[in-house]
Amino acid sequence: MSAQETSTGAPDPNAAGPHDPDERGHFGPYGGRFMPEALIGALDELSAEYDKARLDPEFTAEFARLLRDYAGRPSLLTEAPRFAEHAGGARVFLKREDLNHTGSHKINNVLGQALLTKRMGKQRVIAETGAGQHGVATATACALMGLDCVVYMGEVDTERQALNVARMKLLGAEVIPVKSGSRTLKDAINEALRDWVTNVDTTHYLLGTAAGGHPFPVMVRNFHKVIGMEARAQFLDQTGRLPDAVAACVGGGSNAIGIFHGFIDDPGVRLVGIEPGGKGIETGEHGATLGHGSPGTLHGAMSYLLQDEDGQTTEAYSISAGLDYPGVGPEHSWLKDTGRAEYRSATDDEAMHAFRLLSRTEGIIPAIESSHALAGALKLGQELGPDGYLLVNLSGRGDKDMDTAAKYFGFYEES
């Protein structure tokens, strides 16, 4: 058995490879550690533990077991023919991360990091959350493993994702509404970092996306690689070929980087990230970091970000709480600059159109985050035409978004 393969002969998502960053976490000029010295020790400890764990058959087997027996993997690959009629007749396949336990892709990374927390002998976990999906997944894993859990959530998001706040509380987590700054995901991360620097001896910061200081971007990516690896095999199995393009929404970039990595060495497969266009790029109210930002440092890494002339982070906007973030994981910046991936945006209206369309054509209610990827797929399908094959990462389910959707579509007024 080579280091690159598991006992089943499938590629090992934890193995080191050519797409890893350098030793200090750089993807080209991006990534690294733009972090206070006080946290470098914790990042070093985490790196060392992760580097050991990823090569430890006991760890990788336990992770694989949890993904299978607890999260419900492999997730399905579902063809969406009635939806595809609106996508230029291209064939559209959905990677069903919405069917995972807790309802999104977030659980993959959370289970991996929770196992690492145990290995490091830490008892307390903190996390940030935007849509609440990462917070719910973290609270879930902490309940499963008997860890204490504190979740920071922007006050604006606690209001628009009230259902997820209740879920976290039921699972035993403490939810702390963050009232500073824009009171959304960015500020929740700031507050979590302040907690971490104060309690780092006892606490693991379970970051929810492929951003932050090294080793978070590579580690989170590897925990989500399972999405792309499963999808590639399933796609081949169902169609006998690879997709022309893979579409995924990009907030911090974790679901996208996970599915992209299944295809990164397939040069014929386009990797397309869809960022939140909000009310339209021209209004300035959007979260299209890669499309319309510029390089800088935020939350520990060099990457594209939304900023003003003075390097102050500017506020992102999206109807979707999970995409409402002015930064992005550093590997996406590198994939953009090297041209391996392309990044587009979908507006609130385009995403909500796709949200309703998938619900009505396929009986699947997607997360509003994932609806951005669907909106991107509708356009890609038009471009590819009826011979096209598309894979869309359906990163989560839309139950949490019913209040937003009901308001958007005016359901409350009708009743």
Partner: protein
Amino acid sequence: MGRLDPLFARTREEGRGALIGYLPAGFPTVDGSAELLRGMVDAGCDLVEVGVPYSDPVMDGPVIQAAADTALRAGFRLRDLFTTVEAVASAGGRAVVMTYWNPVFRYGVDAFARDLAAAGGLGLITPDLIPDEGADWIAASAAHDLDRIFLVAPSSSEERIALTVAASSGFVYATAVMGVTGARDQVGTSAEGLVARTRAHTALPIGVGLGVRSGAQAAEVASFADAVIVGSAFVTKATEHGVEGVRALAAELAEGVRKSPSTIG
């Protein structure tokens, strides 16, 4: 030769700790901050740290966060930083700048160093830039003759302390406690241990910050460190009592750093 060497040569000669006071530029307004900083210098601060208000101050507690917010809302722009430093320098004060990294990166590292030096600034304190990522700044500070003040923390390993002090000039900033900025009743026992560990690796002066707010605490810190750094307490005084408040606090702290003989001499 570091730009701050003459200052520490003098405080060592006088057998006392140096007093370093922090306030953000632009707080409460651009002119107001220049006046406050000059008041701090007048009343006994040997050096002032001019802070750059930043949108995402992850190392700061509520007091400095609120001050940065006030400054940004009042329209602070990065160019105002240089006029503020100039105001301190032209009044005979010594100033370094304390800033999160992104504003410097965005301005252009070399251009920032050039403009800071031209304004009379003596160096830069970089709370979220570690030497490992600091190649551009190390080059620019050398080119423009500015001091590089990196931070060490109670969690820093011996290797990291060695690497950090090797890249530093002027002084080394020791964060007294694990946590964010904010006045505390006790500075914590970790500070003294950290200073001792740092001294084993360098002859540079060592300043201790995070939490100091009273003359008594300043005296205690000055008994084992070369400089006492005070931030949040000045911000609170400025908010409550304006220039008179910061002058009174600076005077109390200046007395404090003279009460106890410095360990260096």
